[in-house]
């Protein structure tokens, strides 16, 4: 019987049925970072447990690292304690740690693929909801809590309920100036922030077939913003080409065997899905959020919703709450909204192609007066490539601050924070209240090129107009 990739991977990794009906699933690859793992190691010590398969866990430090300070100790003693704790845990339990001194440090969802650790047909868990990113390679990858990190460390398995699978096909051709970020924002706006609850999303169709791995990662990354714990793209030649020659990728005869295995992991033609959604690529516009969750988005040419026109009291209340927080006027065009900060980076859009694409447009331009613009490569590797290509210089010349790798202002656990009710044009993934470090700070999510357009004009702008992209 034809099967989906999800079913094949699930069956291959199922260890046994648990008493409550859940399945004990082998977590093939486990990724950890400094924020959600220390308590798990604490629980291990309390229970007297060891790490079952230490070679299957990889660690990095990303959330709390300052992006403008490399030397230690960090100015923030709490951040400093966290990095030291991770170092201690990795060394005590024999876990590979991509520390800053290795040159391989970065956001966990950027370095996994970069190092070739993320591979098709595998299961990947990490104490971070954006673990769905790794699904771009045809892995079943999902975020877990700290108690589950303990479970994975102690047993390399966890208890899980099977997800349903929804195939989301995007066919046709994206219009000029429309990026992977717009595709996922459009999907979330269409299906809702909880539309994916209980599902894994299988992204497919002509648009995904043509997408690079980095574009696929941007989409899979935000699956969780649509409520789907996992999202994946079936592995294909693009996937294999990306993985070839990476530090942890198989080599020689092993490579050919791996590719055959990976190819076989893809969903079979004619397999059954729990749901199928089809989207026409031509319907997707450069998309920006206006509210306080990623499902509250509109095309850049659109206007801020009016609660008076809401369908039902629920929608009215949520629009009112969002507009009060965002200080936006109902019915006003979103274009032209003044910004204070432009943030380029995160596990959604902090990869080489994101900076390359923006560099094409900002060369010879300047960040608008009064705007603080920061560019944060997602990994030391991305930073290095940008330096080799002179991209960092293009950003600096344009008035961006060019920083060291980390999560930075996506969630502002390091010193990069909004102040007061500053409004940020951001390439990150969440526009929740207070997300970027100030309890009243405001976030508008958009693609990297749209962030650049906002940075150089000082307000939310249509990048196609600002940079003269032909749209016909």
């Amino acid at each position: 019987m034809p099967k989906t990739l999800f079913e094949k991977v699930w069956e291959a990794h199922a260890v046994r049925k648990l008493a409550n009906g859940q399945t004990q699933i082998l977590v093939g690859t486990h990724l950890i970072h400094e924020v959600t793992s220390p308590q798990a190691f604490g629980m291990m010590r309390d229970l007297g447990l060891g790490v079952a398969m230490p070679s299957r866990t990889f660690a990095t430090v990303d959330h709390i690292v300052p992006t403008d300070q490399v030397s230690e100790p960090y100015a923030d003693p709490l951040a400093d304690a966290m990095i030291r704790e991770l170092r201690r845990n990795c060394s005590e339990f024999g876990i590979t740690f991509f520390d800053r001194s290795t040159g391989k440090q970065g956001i966990v969802h950027i370095i996994g693929p970069e190092q070739g650790i993320t591979q098709p047909g595998t299961t990947i868990a990490c104490g971070d909801s954006h673990t769905s990113t790794h699904g771009a390679f045809g892995a079943i990858a999902f975020g877990i809590g700290t108690t589950q990190i303990r479970d994975v460390l102690a047993t390399q398995t966890m208890a899980l309920s099977k997800l349903k699978v929804r195939r989301i096909e995007v066919n046709g051709v994206l219009r000029p100036g429309v990026y992977a970020k717009d595709v996922i924002l459009h999907i979330i706006c269409t299906l809702g922030v909880n539309g994916g609850t209980g599902y894994a999303y299988e992204y497919a169709g002509e648009v995904f077939d043509r997408f690079s791995m980095e574009e696929r990662m941007t989409v899979c990354n935000m699956s969780i913003e649509g409520g789907a714990r996992a999202g994946y793209v079936n592995p294909d030649e693009t996937t294999f080409a990306y993985l070839k020659g990476r530090p942890h990728s198989p080599r020689g005869a092993e490579w050919d065997a791996a590719v055959a295995r990976w190819r076989a992991a893809a969903s079979d033609p004619g397999c059954a899905y729990d749901d199928v959604v089809r989207i026409d690529a031509a319907d997707i516009a450069p998309t920006v959020t206006w509210g306080i969750n990623p499902g509250q988005g509109i095309p850049i040419t659109g206007t801020v919703p009016d609660p008076a026109r809401a369908q039902g009291s629920d929608e009215r209340a949520s629009i009112e709450e969002a507009l009060a927080y965002m200080k936006l006027k109902p019915g006003a065009p979103i274009k032209g909204t003044r910004i204070d900060v432009a943030f380029l980076g995160s596990c959604t859009n902090g990869r080489l192609s994101d900076f390359q694409e923006v560099a094409r447009f900002i060369k010879g331009r300047r960040v608008a007066p009064g705007v603080k613009a920061i560019a944060v490569p997602g990994s030391q590797g991305v930073g290095l490539l940008c330096a080799e290509l002179g991209i960092d210089k293009v950003f600096r010349d344009a008035g961006f601050e060019w920083r060291n790798a980390g999560c930075s202002m996506c969630l502002a656990m390091n010193p990069d924070k909004l102040v007061g009710d500053q409004l940020c044009a951001s390439s990150s993934n969440r526009n929740f209240k207070g997300r970027q470090g100030s309890p009243t700070g405001r976030t508008i999510l958009m693609s990297p090129v749209m962030v650049a357009a906002a940075a150089v004009t000082g307000s939310v702008a249509d990048a196609r107009e600002v940079f003269g992209v032909r749209t016909n």
């Binding site: 924020v35 308590q39 070739g116 591979q119 999902f142 975020g143 877990i144 065997a257 656990m413 209240k433």
Partner: protein, 200 residues
Amino acid sequence: MALEKITRISGRAVHVPGNDIDTDRIIPARYLKCITFDGLGEFLFYDVRKNADGSDKPHPLNDPRHRGATILLTGANFGCGSSREHAPQALQKHGIKAVIAEGFAEIFFGNSIALGMPCLTADRADISRIAAAVEADPDAEVTIDLVTQRVSFAGQTARASLRESARDALLNGRWDPIGELLEGAADARKVASRLRYTGA
């Protein structure tokens, strides 16, 4: 490891209305800078409960009438966003023993059950009825029965259910799966050696 069998939870309730209440709101990221979960309770809903100077904002959890409430009533898609277990930990350390909502985000739900904190789904109309009863009498006792999947309050009852695997785990004292997972260690090793991961 003997765990408590959670069959029934009784206590006063508090209604925190709203849909899509995310984990950043439940516990802002700046309070995740810690290496233990101790003390998270005081930062629960911090930015919606507190002004910049630390004084209280109007919020149901600051209302003295609801002090000591152990059952949280809320809206749809509760706990969406990040996987941080700090969110259910903060609720639990604040004294919350169960949450009744119109729906839960997947990861939050799993994290809560693993801590022995039931998350039950109920219809909006029923949540409104419970909330109204609690508003009328904040001392009203609300009882959640996981066996019958019913909530009783102020002489009324309502249906509140949860996924069978979670209900089974709570009722039978196996909500923390570590013991059972450790029992499967030999099987896990077999599966691991059968699957050819490279470079690990």
